[in-house]
Symmetry: C2
DNA sequence: TTCCTTGCAAATCGTTTGCATAATG
DNA sequence: CATTATGCAAACGATTTGCAAGGAA
């Protein structure tokens, strides 16, 4: 069960740190492959899953059928553009109050929530107006 | 493109109306099969997708890797039990205010949000205390 | 008769896993 | 040396799709 160092995992971590656009496993694979041409998709998945389980990454299920990964683990919200699918961070404090609001008419324990905001991103707004 | 009547689709719709627990395609399949033993999973998926696209059903991606379907199309929130995976409705008015809050520091258009509340349902709370 | 819908099976997609080998501690 | 990690390919589960046959308008 003890964790052992691996260059591949380190490269994956480092790549994730450089990106704030929440890449998918495939994107990570494509990029880490530049440094490790033989790395396999399986290894990428294994490490992304491992890091997520350890809490070093967030696995985001934004509803597009593909998992996205996020190296920013401090609580924050996400926005997904309906046009281009881009996933971006939002500056918005955690809304603990909505858990309470939801709990008022509910007979169980609410620990938290996951919220995704949808709409059109700045870039796509410009596209459509041109 | 014109829609034609089909008994299978009707049976799927009717089954969905009777359930407020957000069944998966497989559950729909198992049940509709009682009336139509020859119906195929493909047909179930085709109709659930069709109905969702027409807005007669909601397709919920609650994060467990399986799509859930909901015949209640008026806006409402959902709760997912971490223990048993049950998906239940919450009585909570649409929080338009959080879209505004999210939009304050964001340069794009926010149309809405999807929120899932997580925790332990009433039933599982009792289980664990016994 | 037109063309939408079905059942079936094969295909697809994202993700996970088994296994022999390589790397780490 | 003991054990974890890798690459590869096969397996997986959920969902979609191509196609020939059936049913609705």
């Amino acid at each position: 069960m003890a964790l052992k160092y691996s260059r591949q995992r380190e490269a994956i971590k480092e790549f994730m740190m450089t990106r704030k656009d929440h890449p998918t496993a495939d994107v990570v694979y494509m990029n880490v492959r530049k440094e490790f041409p033989n790395i396999s998709l399986g290894t990428v998945y294994r490490n992304l899953t491992l890091l997520s389980d350890m809490g070093e990454l967030l696995r985001l299920r934004v509803g597009d059928g593909v998992d996205h990964f996020d190296a920013t683990i401090t609580p924050h919200y996400h926005f997904i553009c309906k046009e281009c699918g881009a996933v971006t961070d939002l500056e918005l404090d955690t809304m603990h109050s909505i858990d309470e609001a939801a709990g008022e008419s509910f007979h169980g324990r609410i620990d938290g929530h996951v919220t995704y905001f949808y709409g059109t991103c700045e870039h796509c707004l410009k596209e459509s107006s041109s």
